[in-house]
């Protein structure tokens, strides 16, 4: 899972400090000006400058004076019901059937031997559902209104006292309703699929003579080893991302029996508390982390057996929040520059310290466990140093008296490296029920679907069905991939614009190779044409919702609770687009009415 910096922002940080509100406002202003100018130019062509201006002004005036205040929830609901029934008549429920078929044969494509089957199953159902509902929203919303206009059935509505605002909003609500019902059904089916998919039972296959260790049988392509405590209760090792509780019970013939519980840890929703990260170099000075040569720079590395360290700062550490101590979870990477000891992993150490340097805990040594969540419990009281003197330190009184703590991680092996990103170490502040996180993931999908419906209805107010569909699809594609244009333009990404790509494909020129056509004039001309196209695409993309940012499937799949702030942001974005598209849809519909 890749967590971007902006995903940590709180709602207010996002809205005010990072200017989301300002950007939204500017977008609305820009679109209003463009809309006004375009409308005026069209009206000018139809009716001349004076009458044209009057017509536009009247439309705006009607919206403010009549249609907006005069819109009735009852009529919107009536339109919505109509849209709902219409969608039902168009047999959109077949989508559910399609999904069931997909799930039935999912086993063909999913690898039960995967290291994290729960993650794979979740990625599959969430990805599949997301794609399906976006397409559903696209087809539902794009064809309805143009068909009504084409068949003139729209007049049965507009001849009644129904306002364009009500038509637009009613349609969005109606399609949203049927989409929501379908999404609910898909969500329930997905949940059952995932829960059933990861459920399995083990039995004990062999037990050591002491009866305290043993191995389970092989189920779901894995088996566990377990160790019991003196009380006869223990847990298995972690396999495929989960463990089981094992309980020994005395049997009737003096032989002990063993009960193995259901899998734990596969379907979770951890509540992480993320901090901020800084690095120091081998001399202990502030520095950037080291790039050990990987293409991806998501993780930076620190050098072993030097003062090089990664220091996380966490806020909000209190005894109320972490009564039993800090549950530190890590997903660090190791990089070896020499073979070293093959059987022992690369070693690291954790020290918790007060940011003012007055107290720190003693070193907790660990062996890195790559690509899995490594859990460390930092107790409330432990040995450490106060003012450089050995002493017992209290986590909340000495280390984090103000709720702020620094976690210092170092690599202990000389010549070896540990890699990390800010999201790779966090404090686990409990869990939320998995089903709730799953539901939140579906809420994100619902928001995406609603945005697509809004765009579809908006385009359908002035375009024919197929064209509206293509336009909505274009928005969807731009929302997912449009940032590529900007990246090419800024040189972050290799390759060229559409014309250059058209040339490269038949010439079988890879994106990293120079475009060499033997004629610099032609090459320059191609780039000159491409540049404005890319700029245009990039600009349009910036006005589009970023569907990749709106997706939260990874949170669910990787067992991380979807932050309320993040969901709130997504809700705000969706609502903003709802307002924007409704408004544009209203004006287009109104204009068509005028034309009629």
């Amino acid at each position: 899972m890749r967590l971007e910096k902006n995903q940590f922002w709180t709602y207010s940080q996002w809205l005010f400090e990072n200017q989301a509100l300002l950007n939204g406002f500017l977008l609305a202003i820009a679109l209003s000006i463009v809309g006004f100018l375009v409308s005026y130019l069209i009206a000018l062509a139809r009716s001349g400058p004076g009458e044209g201006f009057f017509a536009v002004a009247k439309t705006i005036g009607d919206f403010v004076r009549v249609d907006l205040p005069g819109s009735s929830l009852r009529r919107i609901w009536a339109i919505a019901r109509l849209a709902f029934k219409e969608a039902l008549r168009r047999k959109v429920l077949a989508v559910v059937g399609l999904f069931i078929v997909g799930i039935m044969f999912a086993g063909w494509y999913l690898d039960p031997e995967a290291d994290q089957p729960a993650r794979l199953y979740l990625s599959f159902v969430l990805g599949g559902t997301n794609l399906l509902v976006l397409l559903l929203g696209l087809f539902l919303s794009s064809f309805s209104l143009p068909a009504d206009i084409k068949n003139k059935t729209i007049y049965t509505i507009v001849t009644k006292p129904v306002r364009p605002t009500e038509i637009v909003i009613g349609r969005i609500v109606g399609f949203g309703l049927i989409g929501s019902l379908i999404l609910l059904a898909l969500g329930l089916l997905s949940y059952l699929f995932v829960v059933r998919g990861v459920r399995h039972e083990h039995r004990v296959e062999t037990v050591s003579q002491s009866g305290l260790t043993g191995i389970t049988d092989k189920e779901a392509e894995h088996r566990h080893e377990f160790t019991l405590g003196a009380d006869g209760i223990g847990v298995t090792d972690e396999q495929k991302g989960h463990r089981h509780q094992v309980t020994r019970k005395p049997g009737p013939n003096g032989q002990d029996t063993y009960e193995i519980g259901p899998p734990v840890g596969g379907l979770v929703a951890r509540v992480p508390v993320y901090g901020s990260l800084r690095y120091t170099d081998r001399d202990g000075k502030e520095a950037e982390g080291i790039n050990v040569g990987y293409e991806s720079e998501y993780q930076k590395y620190i050098e072993g057996n030097t003062l090089s360290s990664a220091i996380w700062a966490f806020d909000g550490v209190s005894s109320n929040r972490f009564p039993k101590g800090l549950d530190l979870e890590m997903t660090l990477a190791a990089f070896r520059t020499y073979k070293g000891d093959i059987e022992s992993g690369v070693q690291g150490s954790i020290v918790l310290r007060n940011p003012d340097g007055s107290a720190e805990t003693e070193r907790t040594q660990f062996t890195v466990r790559e690509f899995q969540v490594d859990q460390k419990r930092i107790p409330v009281k432990m040995k450490g140093f106060k003012n450089n003197q050995p002493a017992e330190v209290d986590l909340f009184q000495d280390i984090a008296p103000n709720g702020r703590v620094e976690v210092v991680i170092r690599c202990l092996d000389q010549g070896q490296y540990l890699g990390m990103n800010v999201a790779d170490v966090y404090l686990r502040a409990g869990e939320v029920p998995f089903w709730w996180n799953f539901a939140k993931g579906y809420i994100s999908m619902w928001l995406q679907m609603m945005i697509v419906i809004c765009f579809g209805v908006m385009f359908s107010t002035f375009l024919t069905g197929p064209v509206a569909m293509v336009a909505t699809l274009s928005c969807l594609v731009l929302g997912f991939f449009g940032s590529i244009a900007g990246e090419i333009l800024s040189g972050k990404r290799e390759g060229g614009g559409p014309i250059e790509s058209l040339v490269r494909i038949p010439l079988q020129l890879g994106v990293v190779s120079e475009l060499d056509l033997g004629n610099t004039m032609v090459e320059s001309a191609i780039r000159a044409v491409d540049r404005p196209i890319l700029w245009f695409l990039s600009t349009v993309t910036s006005a589009m919702p970023d569907f990749r940012q709106l997706g939260t499937s990874d949170f669910v799949a990787y067992g991380v609770n979807i932050f309320g702030d993040l969901l709130g942001r997504h809700l705000t974005i969706a609502f903003g687009y709802f307002l924007l598209t409704s408004l544009i849809g209203y004006f287009f519909l109104k204009t068509r009415e005028i034309a009629a």
């Binding site: 890749r2 044969f105 063909w108 494509y109 999913l110 690898d111 031997e113 995967a114 290291d115 994290q116 993650r119 794979l120 990625s123 092989k218 088996r223 990987y294 293409e295 991806s296 998501y298 990477a333 190791a334 070896r336 073979k339 093959i342 059987e343 992993g345 690369v346 890195v368 466990r369 790559e370 690509f371």
Partner: protein, 630 residues
Amino acid sequence: MNVQAFRRKMIYIGLMVLLLVPLYVLGQPKTQRGGKEVSPGGTLAQLRDQHNIGQAALGKIDPASESMRLATLGMRGIASTILWQQADYYKREKFWDRYAATLKQIALLQPHFVNVWDHQAHNLTYNISVEFDGYKQRYEWVKKGIDFLVDGTRFNARQPILQWFLGIYTGQKIGVADEKKQYRELFRNDNDYHDRLTSQGIDARQSDVLGSDGKPDHWLVGRQWFLQSYDLVKAGAYCKKSPHIYYSDSPKCRLRYSEAIEEEGVLDDRAKFSWNKAGDEWKEFGDRDILTTWGHTIKMNGLLSARESLKASLEAFNEEVGDAGERLTEKIRSELPSEEKQALDTPEDQRSTAQQKLAYEAGQKLKPSVMQIAEFAGPGKSRSAVDLATRVREANEYVSHVEAYRNQVNYQYWETRAIAEQRDVTVAARRQMFEADALLQEAKLDEAITKYDEAWANWYQVFRRYPVLMTDDIASDVIKSIRRYKRILDSDLPEDFPLAEFVKFKEMYDKGGMDWQVENILSRWTSDASKLDPEADIFETDLIKKDLLIDEGSGVMLPKKELKEGEVPAKDPAPTLEPSDAGQPPEPTPAKELPAESSSDNPSTTRSPNEPPSVRPPTLENPSQEDGLN
């Protein structure tokens, strides 16, 4: 208007019907009834049959693959390109589970594209596995790659290259990796994987794959994959590999297996038996007809007979042409330009750079080919001489081809190794060294020294009898053990240390690889060894009395002074060399220090100087001891 429309429709229908005819001819399916072919089908069906490219003939028809390909609605290429890009992204960002899942999807989309299986299986086995720090995780990903490739064999029933890769991955990836000790241990105890192997078509419980401990060994499992590949080729499938490399892999698995168990301390009859089997298989490989790139076949074992044939042809040719060769050389010499003549007449060490070049060119001219000699032989002999010259040339080419191919698979080395490792003396040498190392670990120093001394005496025999082993990994192991031995002694190696010359040789070999000096030494020693009675004790042979020295400056072999019967080997050994052979005596060079080892190998206890060696001290005169291991 209606009539026109009707006419147009009729034309369309007519055209459609017309088009159905070629469609029928092309696409009619093959029909069978009761197992018998009723109709061979249309052109396409017949072509499919002819080239064995029908879906069923290519491999398993998998519903998941078929439905996936259908679902892409003819855009399979685009879909697979997107998936490849996705896979690249996942790999870059280390989303391993998703990466593996995407590979499966790619493979389902392109099930008969062999490179997909090969490339991605290699990725999983070699590139992804090493990304994990834990060796157990690495081992799991090695298996994932192997399993992926096994899936590929199901979809591609007639692609022996996949089974060949399976042999490579199962054998070499596990057995040659840095963590081979751990991997081998994991493999032999991986009962679940053994079950899976059985379901994949390799019976992991059959005696042929069980190692010395009765558990499946990966080298022997790898060998089974190679054998499956050979079976496919035998059945008519084509494998794009050089035949000598391809067919050497199965016997090499057995050789490697034998080597591996010895490294793990199996140093008894089980090792000898394994080497015996390996030697037999290597010989079988040597007897196999190998198609060369020159179009003819050779046998790896055919070098001796080829050389004899060349010798016989050469003798017949010389008899036919008489002194024509010398006469021709004289003639060429007399016709050489004066500068070249002058260059040749100038002593080698006094030639200028230009003269060196001229002398070289003249030297080349003075080596006429057999064909030139045959043509020069005279009108009466010319025709038969040319025939004989052709035979000589062909025989010579054949010999060089066999030699080239043998070198590529290291044929002689493995042949000698298999023989050497079956000898009691080799097994004993290994065992004693292994035991001595173990004793050292337990800090039983005196016992370790005794064992080492026994081992050195045996290693001496092994290396003198099978000099090629001095270039092997085991030679490096011996060097490591000698270092440990030296540390226990806490002093220089004894004057009569039997492996002193081996140590020098190894230093030269490690420094310069197989350069001409090293090769020269090796070939001389090999030549000496070949004259020995295989059963004789090397200490009783003449070889021990006519030992050879290595001149450190030149690396040239110098004959040592022959010991007379009853003569005591010199303890202080400035070599007395025959003036005619030695020229100037070798300059003593400063003592060389071997690289330091870890402190764990450096116990402080030393051997008592008064303690007699526990084994017979070799009678090898060692005049170069001061230059040896100090």
